[in-house]
């Protein structure tokens, strides 16, 4: 079945992964800028990373018939030093008009600190200045609830267009906070944390199929690039119709991403 992978870190994955997701129907994928698993030593490291996201990775995906798009930012884990973060953010205008760039992301919070919050708010201003959508990372585990609340407050203060903001990695306790405020929500399917397929389907059944997508967020850690399609198959065993499944794994991400000037299938 056809689907869109709206959140995958393919710089960390093998060509076998591209082949596998292409074989099960992946038509397009989106790669947010993120933490490499270690802190970069200089802003120049991000310049090279942005080149990888906008030049090399789209070419690699194209070999498997997959359209590759990306989001740009400095991730919250490396945003604790505002001077360094601003140096990296100053690179974004040089890349924002490249043909596969969707917007600003994945910005957000990690340990919910004052500096992370300042840099998050400055990213929101960049998105507004260039009139681009926003993809937001919410913190992990015990930090998710507090971080989601701080993010929602900051978004309200920034007066962003809620139709063009997706808040990712929601779980049972944060999905209603995000959806009730009129934002889009993303669920991440991980083998050991975030959502299992069964729980993601519970969230869909509880909070509805509107303004929500699911992703594998596959990266250098324990993760599964086929997670979205496996969850779609589990939806089938839960007696969801083919139309509903297609809505969640294809129509919804397409609807949100189509607000990005550079997105096309």
């Amino acid at each position: 079945m056809k689907y869109i992978e709206p959140h995958a870190h393919m710089v960390s994955r093998t060509t076998a992964d591209y082949q596998a997701i292409a074989q099960v129907g992946c038509e397009a994928l989106c790669e947010p800028a993120f933490w490499a698993g270690f802190d970069r030593a200089s802003a120049q490291g991000f310049y090279d990373y942005y080149r990888q996201l906008t030049e090399y990775e789209p070419a690699r995906a194209a070999k498997f018939g997959i359209k590759h798009f990306c989001w740009l930012c400095i991730n919250p884990k490396e945003a604790e030093d505002p001077v360094f973060a601003r140096e990296v953010m100053s690179l974004i205008p040089d890349f924002i008009d490249r043909p596969n760039v969707l917007g600003i992301g994945e910005i957000g919070l990690n340990k919910n600190t004052k500096n992370e919050l300042i840099i998050f708010e400055e990213h929101l201003e960049i998105a507004k200045k260039f009139d681009r959508p926003i993809l937001i990372h919410t913190p992990h585990l015990e930090d998710k609830l507090k971080g989601t609340r701080l993010i929602l407050d900051a978004l309200k203060n920034a007066n962003v267009d809620r139709d063009r903001v997706i808040i990712d990695h929601v779980e049972e306790h944060t999905a209603p906070l995000v959806l009730n405020e009129g934002y889009w929500a993303g669920m991440t399917l991980y083998p050991e944390s975030k959502c299992s397929p069964a729980r993601a389907i519970d969230i869909l059944e509880t909070f509805g199929m509107e303004r929500i997508w699911m992703n594998s967020s596959c990266d250098w850690g324990i993760s599964d690039p086929l997670a979205v399609i496996k969850c779609a198959l589990e939806m089938k065993t839960r007696q969801h119709s083919a139309e509903i499944i297609e809505k969640v794994i294809y129509d919804n991400p397409k609807a949100f991403l189509s607000q990005c000037p550079n997105f096309s299938l």
């Binding site: 919910n112 585990l141 015990e142 930090d143 049972e172 306790h173 007696q239």
Partner: protein, 93 residues
Amino acid sequence: MPTKKDIQDLYFMDSRFKLLEIASFLDRIDRHDGQADFRHPAFMKALKAMQNPPEGTTRAQAVHLALSDHSTEPAEAATIQFALGAHNEGGQP
């Protein structure tokens, strides 16, 4: 939509397996030497929350809430980059 029986057919065996994993994990903690850290009482609190979720809260939400940081002000600085799975109330070692 599936019935309760359908859901049991789909998930009972898997959930039974995971329930035993939790029981064995707690037995393992009991059996070994040393002191468990703040994660152990947080885990036990989450188990109780699951069995008696507050009004208007699902069992899954109750577990999340039992393990979450409920403070509202941003932290001064990050002392670690990762999360441990349970909020360390009172900063216990």
